[in-house]
Symmetry: C2
């Protein structure tokens, strides 16, 4: 007979991805041949990995979706459906100059939550953002949008545990 | 103003983890120094990575959970809460001899769904199972249960797209 009954959703639903991302980070930095001097190459590896995940994920997410009417429409999809699929929350703020520059703001970026605030935080941040930059670039690429994706972090006061990420997309 | 409205869940909710797992696999096998001869070492790397993810995940999942009353109780938690957290479905069947051997059966194991059926399927399967074996071992370890976790695959007729995984745990 059945040994257990159904279960409801928990707040840990995004955690497997988060933990696996962290392991990938550790693995790439530990297995780097040239040691600490090779930070740029490690960042590139993470970005590439993110790119492929973003491509595949967007392919699946848009399988049954009607075509997008313009670039802004695509960007809204990234902020809403795509971001929720990966991070279980939406982008908090999307701005654009209507000339190809988009700024996406996540006020509680999950992949930074394992870092504590302070100086070290700002130094370590780039390696925690590289995968996600690639992720967005890959997602857009799958929809035919070539882009440059960069990220910046703004640290909140140490007593607040939020991690803000601002993402700029030039397409 | 807000550029978009809330969104509902989709069937792709488990996909980010799945795609990232696949990239990890590719990366480890591509970056292996000794090439194809080193399959055992790659399997061990994947198993170790899974172990750490399983440990961290179980730590988080049981943070607010009352203590378990026995080993079977822990096993049910793995089949239900833990499995759903990672694979968005429960284990389909849990059997035990009540002497420390548990058999967990997943009739639609997500991390095998990218493989097509046939001979190659059985050859390739071990590398797609290693991470998850470690995952379960790590999860149990976090709850103080030492275990040996092995996995086997049973292929359905090619016309059926289900991928069955049977997992044995000796604790």
């Amino acid at each position: 007979g059945t040994l257990f009954s159904p279960r409801e959703g928990t707040m840990a639903d995004e955690a497997p991805f988060q933990f696996l991302h962290n392991e990938v980070l550790q693995y790439i930095y530990k297995s780097a041949e040239n040691g600490e001097t090779d930070n740029g190459r490690n960042i590139a590896k993470l970005e590439n990995m993110g790119f492929r995940v973003g491509q595949g994920l967007m392919e699946r997410l848009t399988k049954d979706t009607a075509r997008f009417k313009d670039e802004l429409d695509i960007m809204k999809f990234v902020c809403k459906d795509f971001w929720t699929c990966v991070f279980k929350k939406q982008i908090d703020n999307l701005r654009t100059n209507h000339q190809g520059i988009y700024v996406l703001q996540d006020n509680k970026f999950r992949l930074l939550s394992q870092l504590s605030a302070g100086k070290q935080y700002l130094e370590q941040a780039p390696k925690y953002l590289a995968f996600t930059c690639g992720l967005v670039r890959g997602a857009l690429s799958n929809l035919g949008v070539k882009s440059i994706v960069t990220a910046e972090v703004s640290v909140m006061p140490a007593c607040v545990s939020d991690h803000k990420m601002i993402r700029k997309i030039f397409s």
